[in-house]
Amino acid sequence: MAATRSYNSNPARIPALGARAFALLLLSLLLMFLDHRDNHLDTVRNAISAAIYPIRVLVDAPSRLLAKAGEIIESRDELQRENDRLTDEILLTAPRLQQLSALRAENARLRGLLDARQRVPDEVRVVEIMAVDANPFRHSIVLDLGSNDGVYDGQAVIDADGIIGQVMQTGPMTADAILISDPGHALLVEVNRNGLRTVAYGTGEFGRLDLPGLPNNADIRAGDLLVTSGLGGTFPSGYPVAVVNTVTRIPQEAFADVTATPSAALDQVREVMLIWSSRREDEIAAKADDDE
């Protein structure tokens, strides 16, 4: 009796440790199950994400300050050079833009002739990437814009050169986006030259996508530009994704071994653009019509 008492009053004994640990273990399993099945836990995640936002801003601050400081102490020469370069770029792109409006008008006219649906231009907004590291097991970035600003799950993220990825989880002020190079990411593309449709899978390397679904006799060659086909509904069509790098045809295999290099510099961007796809607005409108 005395022995049990002294054991119980042992200052090192933590009451009900095993039971608590077991309960929490079950709770985490339940959480993971719910989170994986469907996004049942978005409210929980959003609340914690809002609580974490100040920490994220704090972590992001040094690199933001450095960038600001860099802007301030940049020498006049450098600014002049950058200004010249940008002016040249504008001069080069302006004629193309003029052409673009003419082409767009022509396209609309032709589509009208074919009775095809008009394409509505997508709305685009520039977003900064926060300098915080996220998921160590995936290729992901944190965007400085959240559901408060209308960001939604599955939204396409692009930069000046092409598709970067898509939004995976939205918090109130921030959003996590997954890059197209993540091994769990697949994206519906077509070859710009001939419209051949296929799927581009991420490999876990920033500079390589795999296209495993192409038969040996497929009309594809190195240098072909892959653009989004818009078929999955996630990405709007016609944005550049990657350039085919190598095509290896092994006679006894059913499929060719095709790799491509993403057009966008996935690991170097600091600012990206979010696309509010017009198709999604159509869907919302259609849903609203259904509800009525």
Binding site: L17, L24, V59, S63, D133, S140
Partner: protein
């Protein structure tokens, strides 16, 4: 008995927030896989020293926060942290008298278990990541443990003795 004076929550909270910040801090891609798991190390330390106030419950809450900052499955880090904290608390009297080298080896084993749990959950959820993102943090975590331990112990001693 001043040595056993309860530690206020502030130092623990501060270290956990700092650990979260270090977890989020941007690193070059080449070494990002070798980022030590700061939150796990900090939780092992507190579970070792003040297991009465900070054990599985605190580890679980910290884990949920890590899950949200990392964008992993909600509950993934919580489960792993909870498991290693449970083992640490269970054997904290034994581990306290370990010489530093042996303690470091134990921490290495705990971190390995931690990463294995993460790996296992990733496998069930269908996330495949390069192997280095699992063993990298174990290696650097065990390397950083001795200096971290002596620094934190000194800090804890100061807080406890009221300086």
């Amino acid at each position: 008995m001043s040595k056993f004076r309860a530690v206020s929550n502030l130092p623990v909270l501060v270290t956990i927030v700092v650990a979260l910040m270090l977890t989020m801090m941007p690193l070059p891609d080449s070494i990002a896989a070798f980022r030590p798991d700061w939150v796990a190390l900090i939780m092992i330390f507190w579970a070792l020293n003040i297991p009465r106030s900070y054990s599985v419950g605190a580890a679980w809450i910290a884990g949920v926060f890590v899950d949200v900052t990392q964008g992993t499955l909600l509950g993934q880090y919580a489960l792993a942290l909870c498991a290693i904290t449970y083992i640490t608390v269970k054997f904290h009297l034994l581990m306290r008298v370990f010489p530093l080298l042996q303690l470091t080896a134990t921490v290495f084993a705990l971190l390995a278990l931690y990463q294995f749990l993460l790996f296992w959950i990733n496998g069930v959820a269908g996330v495949n990541a390069p192997a280095v993102s699992y063993w990298g943090p174990v290696l650097t975590g065990a390397l950083i443990w001795p200096p971290l331990y002596s620094f934190m112990s000194r800090m804890l001693y100061r807080v406890q003795s009221g300086n």
